[in-house]
Amino acid sequence: MHPAPSVIIFTVLSGIGFAMLALLGIGQPEVNGFEAIPYYFVGITLAVIGLLASVFHLKNPKNAIKAFSQFRSSWLSREGVFAVISLVQSTFVLAIKVVFGFHPLLSGGVSLIICSFTIFTTAMIYTQLKTVPRWNQWLTPFVFFLSSYTGAAIILGQVLLGFLLLLMLTVVQIAYWIIGDRAFSKRGHTIETATGLGRLGKAREFEPPHTGQNYLLNEMVYVVGRKHSIKLRTIGMLFLVGLPLPILWFFNVSFAMVVSVFCLHLVGLFICRWLFFAEAEHVVGLYYDKR
């Protein structure tokens, strides 16, 4: 799949933003009064930047408002609806904290639930697609959950939580790659099942339907990313957990340390999210005898 910058920025930043709002909702860390404003500001800003980036993915954004209408059947629509609900509800929690100066346990808990569900709906946009076997597996939502919450825990200075989440993210990310690498062939999709020509023999593309590119090839048959897959996975993991882990372990918590660890982690997350798209093979490639 084509790794469009708009969807990479969307999934990474809005994921971390909503996870921040969820963690702030359960008092990790507990900040009240005017002190809460900068924390919530960063969370809401990240979520909104991500959502705005996703609008740049649209070819006809004037109809974007209609995306809130199909929440009963469409995960993308649910994502839009819950993103707005999460932002409004978290702003409400912030208002209570600022005005009354205490941490509202119940509404904070509600923040955790709806922000988590928003991250889940983002993951389901990709997980639901049977046409991309690498995404269509139960680990995909966990990758989105853990990567969102890990980044959020780090930037909120929750060292112990961040440390544990980094370890869990390592396991899940590697498992996702191992299972994902086998997903396509395991489904049994071949050029023969795609064309039905298997009953005659072994098929291959003799002449493509068009000499140049088209929308399908540009969007869904992106083969560049797989060439350096192993190197990029290694570099990605180095930034995602390899460097942040020892820094979190050995250094004292300070603003500079938290920001630098978060920046390293974010670089790793962007590399891994780029791979998430670039490595994903769509079954339509079979018609072009390409993966």
Partner: protein, 246 residues
């Protein structure tokens, strides 16, 4: 809501006979011609006279080479357009309600006034049947020529999809698969019409009639036939002998 209808009264679709298709691409051209001037936004081209031309098409013809275990390979021309699936994944993923499947005849359509061009439906389609029009920014797909098949302003014999009407080899047929007595249902039953990528569970309506296996056997009596003389006679024979002598 972009939910699928539980069932449709008719199941309109195409039968494509891979045994007959000669790969002339006339269906591709006529599809583009009709649909660029009919239903919805036109089918644009990008850089049509430049180095990297590309454009929006609702129907494309692939060509495959199939190698059996023994014998020579066989070339199969393979037209591909929307299969109007009963369980169409492109419809349910749509966030705006632009994609829908009609309860009356099963045609899968895009209401371009609602489409925001997110492209998720094209990702959900296993067959590559949907292409985003890069000029209009909306998703385009085969409409089964909905503006022809019910069009009372054109002669009755023209009320079938443009690709079917134009096929010079009669490799494409249009009809109702819900009616077991329709020509398309009978053809599918007689020739073991196949679904594409059935493991995706989309239940496509369109069916493909498989190509026949090539007859590779030579008649057992062939060795006993009298060989055909290959030495020339008459003027050519004289010329042959004369030239040999020089």
């Amino acid at each position: 809501m972009t939910s699928l209808p539980n069932s449709t009264d008719k199941k309109l679709g195409l039968v494509i006979d891979l045994d007959i298709c000669v790969g002339c691409h006339a269906c591709v051209v006529n599809c583009k011609e009709w649909n660029t001037s009919g239903y919805g936004a036109e089918l644009s081209d990008q850089d049509p006279y430049g180095d990297a031309p590309m454009g929006t098409f609702l129907n494309r013809v692939h060509t495959y080479e199939v190698q059996p275990d023994v014998g020579p390979a066989q070339i199969v021309h393979f037209p591909k357009s929307c299969l109007h699936c009963e369980d169409a994944p492109c419809v349910t993923v749509c966030p705006t309600g632009a994609s829908y499947k009609r309860a009356e005849d099963g045609i899968v359509l895009v209401n371009e006034d609602d489409c925001m061009g997110c492209g998720l439906c094209a990702w959900a389609c296993p067959y590559g049947a949907r292409e985003m029009d890069l000029a209009a920014g909306v998703m385009k797909k085969c409409t089964l020529c909905v503006d022809r098949i019910y069009n009372e302003n054109i002669p009755e014999e023209d009320r079938e999809p443009a690709c079917v009407k134009t096929c010079p080899a009669n490799a494409r047929h249009f009809g109702d698969f819900a009616d077991p007595d329709s020509a398309v249902s009978k053809m599918t039953a007689e020739r073991d019409g196949m679904e594409l990528m059935p493991e995706q569970g989309t239940k496509p309506v369109n069916r493909y009639l498989p190509p026949r296996e090539k007859q590779n056997e030579v008649d057992i009596l062939a060795p006993f036939l009298k060989p055909v003389a290959n030495s020339p006679k008459g003027f050519l024979g004289w010329l042959d002998k004369t030239l040999d002598r020089i």
